[in-house]
Each structure stands twice: as C-alpha cells, then as structure tokens.
Symmetry: C2
Subunit: 221 residues, 2 copies
Amino acid sequence: MKYQEIFAEYFPFWNNLSASERDFLCQSTTEEHFEKEQSVHDNLGCSGLYIVKKGRLRLYMLSEDGKEITLYRLMAGDICMLSASCVVQSITFDVFVDAEEPSDCYCISGPAFASVSDRVPEVKIFALEKAVDRFSDVMWIMQQIVFMSMDKRLAIFLLDEMAATGSDAITMTHEQIARHLGTAREVVSRMLKHMAADGGIEVTRKCINITDKKKLRDIAK
Amino acid sequence: MKYQEIFAEYFPFWNNLSASERDFLCQSTTEEHFEKEQSVHDNLGCSGLYIVKKGRLRLYMLSEDGKEITLYRLMAGDICMLSASCVVQSITFDVFVDAEEPSDCYCISGPAFASVSDRVPEVKIFALEKAVDRFSDVMWIMQQIVFMSMDKRLAIFLLDEMAATGSDAITMTHEQIARHLGTAREVVSRMLKHMAADGGIEVTRKCINITDKKKLRDIAK
C-alpha cells in the first residue's frame, strides 16, 4: 500500500504496528500542496500530523491584534505534531502554521493517529517526544526574547536563515523579518542600517546580502 | 513500605508496577526540606523528580548576567518533572528551581525513575505528559511577554499572586516582582505608583494591598 515505505522511514514504531493499523494510517493520509504563504493550520482544531516532503513551514504565535512571533520552522523531513492537538491533548495553546515556500506534505488525520496512539504506547511516546523536542526550541526563542538585545536576535535570525536556505542572499522584506521577531519594521530597518554601516551585510530593497559572516557571529555571540 | 500510599495517590500507574519496581522507587526516595529562597535545582543535571508536600517552588530561567524570568510555580501536590532531565531526555534547556516559601518535598532519584520509565511505557507516558503540560504554561508566559504591555503583565501577576496565597496583601518587594517579570525594579515601581494613583492598590514599603480587584482585572483584560 502507498505510504508504507515512507512511513517506515519516519516512524520508528512502524514495523511494530499490526498490518491493519498500518493500513488504517495509510488510508487516513492525504498529500497536500500549499502555496507560499498559504495557511496550513490556523486554530486549536486538530488539523492532523504533517510530514514535510518538500518546502518549508513556519510555526508561529499570533496575538489578537495581529502581532506574530515565529517559534520554529519545519523543513523537508520534519514532522509537525503541534498541529495535531487531539494526539497530544495536553497542548492547550494556539499555534499557527503557514507555508514559507511552496510545500508538499503528507497529512495523517489527527483523530486516526490519536486512535492508534491510544492503543499503542510506543506511538503515544513518539508523539509526546516530538512535542517535548519543540518545547526546547521554544525555550530557546524565549531566552532570546527575554535576555537578548534585538541586534543580537537579528544577527542570529540572519545566520539561521542563511543556514536554512544555503544562500548568502536573504530575500525577505524588513516587514517580514520584523514579523518573525515580533517587533516593528522600523526597528529592523534601523538595525540593518547599522549592520550595513558596520560592513557585515549589504541591504538592497528586497534582499539582504551577508558579506561578512564573522561580523554577524560576533554580534550573535 | 513508606511512601507506597502516597505514591499510589500521585501516580496513576502505581498499581500496575510490579512489587519490586514499587519498592525500588520507594527506596530511591528522600524527603527534603528547603528554606525560603534555597535552591532546589540549579543546572542541567538530573536532580530528580520533586513532589511538593508543603510550601511553594518557583521554576525560572536565568541569563548569563543574572536576569531571571519566572515560568511557573509548583504548589502542594504538584510534581516537578523538568528537574529530572534524565527522565525526559528531549528537555535540553536549563531551568532553575528555588523554594519561595519553606517547603517540604519528596524527591525520587532521576536515574531510578528513568530506569522504571524505560521499562514501563505507562510511566514514560506519564513523565512526558507532565512535561508537555508545562509547555502550555510556558507558552502562556511567552504570549504575555511578546504580546502584552508590562502594566497588563503586572496586573495578571498581582491577581495570580493573590489567588495563590489567598491574601489581598502581597508581601514582595518591587525588586522581587521585577525579577519574576524579567524587568527592572524602576519599571515595576513606576507602574505600581500609577496603579495606586488609579485606586486599584495601596503600596507600602514591603507590601502591596489589592484594594480593588475589578480595577486590576480591567487592566489585565
């Protein structure tokens, strides 16, 4: 059956499931394509468990007045568990997920995965561990927000972005970067100007070129 | 054996453990007393799993330059799992735990609990669920930090403190409140002065009296 081989790679518990459980999960799976900036998951509902096949998703918090802060990104091969709140019921907070690039995902129905995880402890443990992994990511972001100056956070963001895309040219607007960091565009523009004057980056209208990684790393340190 | 009855209350899995596993956990337990402000857990090491019998613990993050932010409190009956990083290995961040009041705790050795949780899936699931529960608490704090103004956060803090202690008089210094919120004492003093002028609270040297809960709730809303 379709997906069997793929899931065997992603799930360490796959071969310990019964054939009927494996079939059930495969039948509860769809392939979904998301355009750039399309919403993948947008409320407390149980959208299901996403496996990113291609592209990049962004998980973020959103305030009532539209302010955002990016918690982490999901790249090809990553599994998004926080969008499946019916699997990990102790998750009682809202997160939002968008596609940052055109993305292809496998989506396993939340209730289907939950019903298997309720019967098979190994599956439950897998789901909970995936959630706790992200707890560590979120704590790192929180540490940045609480304890670091904005220029340090911006330098870390640019270096992470460079690592994620494999390119020295970051094609994001100041507005987009500001949304990731939960701050105002003006703040980002001002700091980019300073960094450019310092020789670490070059700023054009829609693109930031990292010209001196070491300088950025010094700020980030 | 000592602790058997107590643990049967705290752990839904207790009666499914073998007699030897139950004995092993009881033998790996100590009772510990902490004075007010004494450190309970202070680094990435595996201090063990604490059950608060009496008193109050505070879990917080600490920056390199000594800045703090309180993530949540543990009251009588609560279980502290984040201090047992050998049980939940995907926890890779540092948290610190202090006693806020003279406190008595049961402490189960981390490696002992981990060895049982590695053998018994139900125990592993319990530990992971406790950790994920706290993920939700931390996200709520993060939402406050990122999206709320400091006066709103202070009002929420005072109302929570009132609920936790059951008293209208909050006997904390401005410095202590500032540390909870990860801000400067001056900021807290200025805001308390505004709130007092507004008639919601009365401020004395070492104590804040909440005189009008509704006013505070309006700020917090």
